[in-house]
């Protein structure tokens, strides 16, 4: 039952947060008339993809949780451990499909920009750092957990030498190799999908007739959604992992003050990770700027119709 925290805690926090994000997006959206029909249509496609991605993420986590409750046993714990990362994978997958189905240029007049786009040009730096930090922290915790865990890879054992006997105290579940392997596999898959999605964001067709700044803003917003989902799901996985580690450490602490302090530190870090995950979810994507009044760069040698 305790393992259910892996899904229940993040989900209980994720659902209202997703609603808040949606509400903010709707209330603060710029009217379509301000940005032109083509840009507005592209924005609608991106927002619809973003909403679908959130639905797919929540649905995937719920499906994994349901599967976990039906299989039972140790597999259940493993499934619950990866539920939030699976949500992140489903979310990113839907965003990648959104990029692949991006509106193609139509009509007889087409336009493009004579500049080579790079992923670095559209990456939101803050989110990138947050995603890298949460992923790095999760990898670190899982590697350390695997090194200090017991032989079963899911418990923590402490051996104390008393005057007349040696006693061993075990506590679990603990994020050792038993949980680390599927978690790291899911994290690797998520990182790969994020990389792919960001390249799709850069290589998708430009919005015909849109100002270059508007096109760049749309791409930055797409990259923001990809990184936001990945970073949030990683942080919301890190939180429960740290919580389990804290609980296991407390279970073997007995009267050892250092272990008690470590358990408290891990619990605090778990709360911080969950809060970071929620804050990341609440970060709205950048808006599409209104086109400037001035005419953009003239096209020399244009061809008469």
């Amino acid at each position: 039952m305790f393992a259910g925290l892996f899904v229940l805690v993040p989900l209980a926090l994720l659902l209202p947060a997703a609603l808040v994000v949606l509400l903010v997006l709707v209330l603060t959206a710029r009217p379509d008339g301000d940005i032109g029909p083509a840009t507005a249509a592209a924005r609608r496609h991106a927002v619809a993809g973003g909403v679908l991605a959130v639905v797919a993420g929540v649905g995937a986590a719920a499906a994994v949780a349901a599967l976990a409750s039906s299989v039972g046993g140790l597999t259940s714990g493993r499934l619950l451990a990866v539920a939030v990362l699976v949500a992140g994978i489903a979310h990113t997958l839907v965003l990648a499909l959104t990029e692949l189905t991006w509106p193609r240029p139509t009509g007889t007049h087409r336009s493009g920009v004579l500049v080579r786009r790079r992923v670095a040009d559209v990456l939101p730096r803050g989110l990138l750092r947050a995603a890298a930090a949460t992923a790095g922290a999760l990898v670190l915790v899982l590697l350390v957990g695997s090194l200090v865990a017991g032989d079963d890879g899911r418990s923590l054992t402490r051996t104390t030498a008393a005057p007349f006997a040696v006693t061993a105290t075990s506590s679990g579940p603990f994020p050792g190799s038993f949980y680390a392997v599927p978690l790291l596999a899911c994290l690797a898959l998520l990182v790969g999908l994020v990389w792919l999605s960001l390249h799709l964001v850069v290589s998708r067709p430009a919005v015909t007739g849109a100002h270059p700044d508007a096109d760049t803003a749309l791409r930055t917003a797409s990259a923001h959604r990809v990184l936001r989902g990945a970073a949030a799901s990683t942080a919301l996985t890190l939180g429960p992992v740290l919580l389990f580690a804290s609980s296991a450490v407390r279970g073997i602490a007995a009267e050892a003050q250092r272990l008690e302090a470590l358990a408290i530190l891990l619990a605090v870090l778990a709360v911080v990770a969950c809060l970071v995950g929620l804050v990341l979810l609440l970060l709205p994507a950048p808006r599409v700027p209104a086109p400037p009044v001035a005419v953009v760069h003239p096209v020399p040698g244009g061809v008469p119709a």
């Binding site: 240029p105 007049h109 087409r110 920009v113 700044d213 953009v296 096209v299 020399p300 061809v303 008469p304």
Partner: protein, 126 residues
């Protein structure tokens, strides 16, 4: 390259083939200084996706530009601007800018201005 990046427009209903439209506009941007030596052009696939045309069309325009010495294809960097096909003096550039300004003031279309310049060039040669 700074500020708004140079744009490219293709009219699929024009009698001029799309590859020629791309070639002329890239060459124009290079001659006008909007694209400078060392600037990297978008990949064939990226520009074709932006314009919704076949990659072969963009590749043909790039090949023609390369033959004219405006761009060069490099294995790792892609297509890079080398410079204008012919050096344009500052006097000619200023005169062209003045012409464009006057044409815009009078609301003349691009086609009319180009016809005018073409006509004058032909008259001068005659």
């Amino acid at each position: 390259m700074s500020g708004t990046p140079p744009q490219l427009e293709v009219d699929l209903s024009s009698a001029v083939p799309p590859y020629e439209q791309i070639r002329a506009q890239v060459a124009g941007h290079v001659a006008a200084g909007a694209l400078r030596a060392g600037d990297r052009l978008p990949t064939v696939r990226a520009l074709a996706a932006d314009l919704g045309i076949a990659p072969g069309t963009v590749a043909r325009a790039y090949r023609t530009l390369e033959a004219e010495g405006v761009v060069v294809g490099r294995r790792r960097l892609g297509t890079v601007v080398t410079g204008p096909a012919a050096q344009v003096g500052s006097g000619v550039t200023r005169a062209a800018e003045t012409l464009v300004r006057h044409a815009q003031d009078e609301g003349l279309s691009e086609a009319v201005v180009l016809d005018l310049v073409s006509g004058l060039l032909r008259s001068a040669r005659a």
